[in-house]
Symmetry: C2
Subunit: 344 residues, 2 copies
Amino acid sequence: MSTKKLGNQTIAFSSPPSIIGYGNAVGKKEGEGPLSSYFDYICPDDAFNEDSWEKAESTMQKKALSYAMKLANTSATNIDYICGGDLLNQCIATGYSVRSQKIPFFGLYGACSTMAESLILASMILDGKFGEKVVAMTSSHFCSAERQYRTPLEYGGQRTPTAQWTTTGSGAVVLCEHGSGPYITHATVGKIVDKGITDVNNMGAAMAPSAYHTLRTHFEDTGRSPSDYDLIVTGDLGALGKEIVIDFFSKDGVNLQANYNDCGVLLFDLEKQDMHAGGSGCGCSAVVLTGYLLKEMHLGRWNNILFCGTGALHSPTSIMQGESIPGICHAVAISSKKGAMQHG
Amino acid sequence: MSTKKLGNQTIAFSSPPSIIGYGNAVGKKEGEGPLSSYFDYICPDDAFNEDSWEKAESTMQKKALSYAMKLANTSATNIDYICGGDLLNQCIATGYSVRSQKIPFFGLYGACSTMAESLILASMILDGKFGEKVVAMTSSHFCSAERQYRTPLEYGGQRTPTAQWTTTGSGAVVLCEHGSGPYITHATVGKIVDKGITDVNNMGAAMAPSAYHTLRTHFEDTGRSPSDYDLIVTGDLGALGKEIVIDFFSKDGVNLQANYNDCGVLLFDLEKQDMHAGGSGCGCSAVVLTGYLLKEMHLGRWNNILFCGTGALHSPTSIMQGESIPGICHAVAISSKKGAMQHG
């Protein structure tokens, strides 16, 4: 029998890894939003001094990693592994950013759930005693994503009200087998959930059922309730997807309104910045985590958060072939203490 | 200090996971090659009864998984996690095949190194006591890969002499915390190596330096020499890449000729089947492992093999932007015994 599993899908780490460093870099719009003061680097033109959007995304990732390593007071030679990925075809933003690092590399693809997926695998590696320090990182870039998933920017296409805005941002976290916290204490690894949504301009609705499934499983497996967390945050469901998750829980008689939010809603001022349903992309949850969430935890605002990365595992080709959008959500419990829960 | 690391990049598993099941499904050309008798399912037209090549690849993956679970005498409800990925944009072959399984999922992208990457992460999960059974799987399909990476099949493009042939095939392995072997005893996690090759029709040359780097590191970290293995096999370097690896080692005074081969060379009769430099793709090493290698280990032909997945982390976009091809190689030591090495 396995000793570190709770219920069906949840891991309780026996030596919860500590977050010892985190960093990020974002684009202009993200730097104009309500979380502006939490970011390490804001690029005024999203180009990061590169001559293509794809190279800009790689360079942005390198910046986020360097801020994270600096805060962790460590360097590449002391990192055992990097776990990371991005949204681009063949995950090139990550491949080309890791190329310069000389660090053993596990490439991941979890769509916009990648920040949570990489945190979970990094924590498993540390708790399993396979190394001392592991980096979890990801990125997305509005311009490289538009070119690849939608239409070239030059077309000036109109967006529907339910559409989201791919975040230009990268976040990196350095995890260590020891440290003063915050700690990753639990993780619920998601299953794919697909309720038949085919509208790529309504990703919140496509991903919300997987978020609901993982959250419900997390509470069942751990015996916890939503009120045990100071904050529950999904990755990039946006305003509509967030409402769907609240609605699902209210049908179960659970009120999620008090302490639940979504990174895609937090990152932008949806009305003033004309953001429609909100932010999305791997970078969305990554920069909200490494900016707002971890910095406010450090200041004592929250002691226990449940960070839930949400991803849509489709491609333009699968949608053209009439397929629906499979969703996945991974939940990561982050606590200022290793042991029993204490509220902020 | 970490206890399970040897040297810089190698893991020595404290409770080596056992391979309790493996299965595969391949296309017509693979079924006409020298390893034909080792495959569980050969599709006569590569379509797997689907109406697109991408859906065919997903269905092929499901077939490989079902053969692996059958041999392991288990079902989806007893599998804790699937670790897998493929070559298609956004890894849709894997996303859509896992959708029907209701198993917690870690999506990976390691290009053609994915079979080795998934075996390593699955082994870490089991050795870390996060579950009892984990699946590692991957696939590639000649027709979906040609459409995405090169030109539509209908163009009838000519291939250069150094070009390889993307394998139509999927392989799945069920790993368990206990079992009668073979066991995964060691893993060397690769760093990205890029020597500046830009020719996508010469992937063997692009990936060979990373294979050399990982192999040399494996021997340094473990204190082993090539002759400690009955067989050392790279994933898909093809005939040219294989020669480059042999050449690199001969410059170090090490003769690799006696017991080294490449899955891309083993899978096809290069001349008779007009295969140019040989097979490639995630599926290449996956079907040679789950066909030829594990079946011959079971029959006692080899006791110790070193399985080295090789991947090229570029994309058509990165190549069009003038970038070179980053390579990565992960090595997995598979032994019929948990303890000291014994030769077959």
